[in-house]
């Protein structure tokens, strides 16, 4: 445990040093990578470990984003408390959903969560306190003055997002290595044998849904911070599919792989832009290309490496060892 703490502290230090050396665009993208890392960790925990397929993580992110923004704007609370509320409300929502979802599996569960991804963000349009289509602002404020004039807003976002991502990954990694993680893996591998061993698999599945939702909600709040806004347009079905793609590419049961998945998700718009420029289609083409790339990657990955390239690499490495 002590080694792991030191390792995470070193990683954090390394990232902050790098944040100081790169330009603002990369710092901004770094914050996005941190956000996706948390979101993908929620899928790894839910799908990779407990074996529940969810296509609704974008909706869970929306719950977290709105909870954080409403807390900050209405209570005038400190930022950390807004993030805590994002975790609390999305976990609560996840527990409720998980209770219903525990009775479902396979395509039925995927269909239910898909409906959630489509419907939940659109609900914001129906309630004025949620800001409608333009959304509501989520302003975490300027960086502390003692960090100096050169310390930009995006660097501040990067710091916060990185800290949150490292904490989230550290806690998730410990949970997955605990008896909970082992039980989820057992449920995923052989539910019947697990039940016969005296484990209440429904309760364990609800717990997985709750923790996964809490992570997704936290990622939603981090996303809201990086764009200073919570709006239905930020938590679309496209986001949910992108997250699934990122998780599959990273290896759906590989927690360290989420960093690679997050990196791919942030790189896709850049690749789309470069492709659009080469194809000469301009902005019209590059608007559609990211979605197309995500779809193609997902299809190819499912056909050739159902558990994701990351998982394959890991298996190859183990065979060699």
């Amino acid at each position: 445990m002590r080694k792991k703490i030191i390792l995470f502290i070193l990683l954090g230090w390394l990232l902050l040093v790098i944040g100081d050396r790169v330009d603002e665009l990369r710092v901004y993208q770094g914050a996005q990578i941190a956000m996706y890392t948390i979101a993908l960790a929620s899928i790894v925990l839910l799908t990779g470990y407990s074996g529940q397929v969810s296509l609704g993580n974008g909706a869970m992110m929306a719950v977290g984003g709105y909870a954080a923004a409403l807390t900050l704007n209405n209570l005038g609370s400190p930022v950390w408390f807004a993030f805590l509320m994002a975790i609390f409300f999305s976990a609560l929502f996840g527990a409720l959903l998980g209770t219903a979802a525990a009775r479902l599996s396979g395509p039925y569960l995927a269909g239910t969560t898909l409906a959630l991804a489509v419907g939940l963000p659109a609900i914001a349009n129906q309630f004025s306190f949620l800001g409608g289509e333009p959304g509501i602002f989520f302003d975490v404020g300027l960086p502390p003055q003692r960090l100096g004039q050169e310390f930009t807003q995006y660097k501040w976002f990067f710091w916060i997002a990185t800290l949150i991502a490292l904490l989230a990954l550290f806690i998730t990694s410990n949970i997955l290595q605990s008896r909970f993680g082992r039980t989820w893996r057992a449920i995923r591998s052989n539910p019947l044998a697990t039940e016969l061993s005296g484990i209440h698999s429904s309760q364990m599945k609800i717990l997985a849904f709750t923790i996964s939702s809490a992570l997704a909600g936290l990622a939603g709040a981090v996303l809201a911070m990086t764009i200073s806004l919570v709006a239905p347009g930020a938590y679309t079905l496209t986001l949910s599919f992108a997250l699934v793609t990122g998780a599959v590419l990273a290896g759906v049961s590989s927690l360290p792989g989420v960093v690679l998945g997050a990196l791919i998700l942030v790189a896709i718009p850049e690749i789309a832009d470069a492709l659009a420029n080469r194809l000469g289609g301009g902005e019209n083409v590059s608007s559609y290309l990211p979605g197309l790339i995500v779809s193609i990657l997902l299809i190819l990955s499912v056909i050739f490496t159902p558990n994701g390239p990351g998982e394959n690499l890991h298996r190859h490495h183990r065979k060699k060892a």
């Binding site: 390792l7 790098i18 806004l229 902005e283």
Partner: protein, 430 residues
């Protein structure tokens, strides 16, 4: 199969991979963003696709066409202008992401003509334009909130505000439609709220009000608007929304044989786009509208004539209000860049707008309000009426320009004479 827990080395590798990629693509620092010896890079965000795109998606290409014309004639102090268009689909979240790309990745010198009230509100706050000192010229929105110079020190409007428009329409209703039952359809964000506030201040009372949410406009939702207007017996209906909402409103009304006197706000009343969206020209005949610019078909106007020539040569798109607006944005941008001098800086550009912007040539009839303490663009409208061809003519036969402010100032009949179009449409100001 139950897999083993990840090795700690994998964590390190994963993070090094992420951080290494950040390092590998880091870019060097720059002196003045977007300006080189041969080029000035500008950026615009606007909806090129999506529900709100009809009409607006022509503005960027029209600006580009004008810039190409200027570039072919020597550019601005020898520098070519490059305009980068980004599609925000009229979504605040996308507008933020695309503006970030423009500023951080494309490193544009300034934003020109960013479009949309909700999108620009989000962008300004999130991207922190004021703190970064990024000039944002000629906002394609009339939300009067943007005229707050303290909050938006680097932003400059171009359109007369929605509040000004509503005040002038309120005066028109009083003069020409007194005693009739009034209806109002409006977009229920800052766009429509700005108008509602001004109508209230002017004492205009609507018998039926129908709000709609941006993005919800469709033939199905228009059915409910028309039902409410007809049930309320509205004889005169004022519309404050975008073209993609005007089109279903008019089409559904025509199908339902509901024919009030329409007063279409300037934003959603381009006849060519409305006809392209399926509105029968007969429905447009007689519709009244506040307008800032001359009709795009009025070839007797020197601006329209020049812009039409440029459009034919460089754009090859049907010449309508949006193309006219895009060309005019280009014309004003070139004047602003020239006014900033031969070695433009962002600060210099803002100073030039404040000190010289009010004298820029522009196709719109009303005066410009730029000064050290004001970022207000145009300040007035005239009332027009559409004819059987879908063309727009001044109401009463001649242009009667009314000017006002976004506050409690009076609506005044103006005698302002707009500056002449620069020779060959090429500004020579400094």
């Amino acid at each position: 199969m139950i897999r083993k827990t990840p090795r700690k080395g994998t964590w390190l590798a994963a993070t090094v991979l992420a951080s290494g990629s950040l390092f590998a693509t880091a870019l060097p620092a720059y002196a003045e963003a977007g300006v080189s010896a041969r080029e000035i890079k500008l950026g615009i965000t606007l909806p090129l696709t999506g529900a709100a795109s009809p009409g607006y998606n022509k503005i960027g290409n029209a600006m580009n066409a004008y810039f190409k014309y200027v570039n072919d004639n020597g550019g601005v102090y020898g520098r070519k202008i490059t305009l980068i268009q980004k599609n925000d689909e009229y979504s605040p979240q996308l507008a933020i992401a695309k503006t970030n790309e423009l500023i951080l990745k494309d490193k544009v010198f300034a934003l020109v003509g960013p479009l949309g009230t909700a999108t620009y509100t989000a962008v300004h706050k999130s991207v922190n334009l004021a703190k970064r000192g990024v000039p944002s010229l000629f906002l394609n929105t009339g939300f009067s909130g943007f005229s707050d110079k303290k909050s938006y020190p680097t932003s400059f409007m171009i359109l007369s505000s929605y509040a000004m428009e509503a005040k002038i329409v309120a005066q028109f209703l009083k003069d020409n439609h007194a005693g009739k039952k009034l209806g109002l359809v409006y977009q229920n964000d800052e766009f429509g709220i700005d108008a509602i506030t001004a109508f209230k201040a002017a004492g205009t009372k609507f018998d039926v009000t129908v709000p709609y949410t941006s993005g919800s406009q469709s033939a199905a939702t228009a059915q409910t608007w028309v039902s409410q207007l007809a049930a309320g017996g509205a004889q005169v209906v004022v519309f404050f929304g975008v073209t993609s909402a005007t089109a279903p409103l008019l089409a559904v009304s025509a199908a339902a044989k509901y024919a009030p006197q329409w007063i279409l706000g300037s934003v959603g009343s381009d006849p060519l786009t409305l006809r392209a969206l399926g509105v029968p020209v007969a429905v447009l005949n007689g519709a009244q509208t506040p307008a800032g610019n001359p009709s795009p078909n009025d070839t007797s106007d020197e601006y329209v004539k020049q812009f039409q020539e440029i459009n034919t040569k460089y754009n090859d798109a049907p010449f309508d209000d949006y193309v006219l607006q895009g060309m005019n944005l280009g014309l004003m941008t070139v004047q602003a860049l020239r006014a900033a001098g031969s070695n433009p800086t962002r600060k210099g550009l803002i100073r030039a707008m404040e000190s010289k912007g009010s004298s820029f040539a522009s196709v719109a009839y009303s005066p410009l309000g730029y000064s050290k303490t004001s970022n207000v663009g145009h300040t007035g409208y005239y009332m027009a009426v559409m004819d059987a061809n879908g063309d727009r003519k001044p109401f009463g036969g001649t242009v009667k320009l009314y000017t006002t402010d976004s506050g409690s100032g009076p609506v005044v009949l103006s005698t302002f004479k707009r500056p002449a179009m620069p020779a060959k449409g090429l500004p020579s100001n400094s």
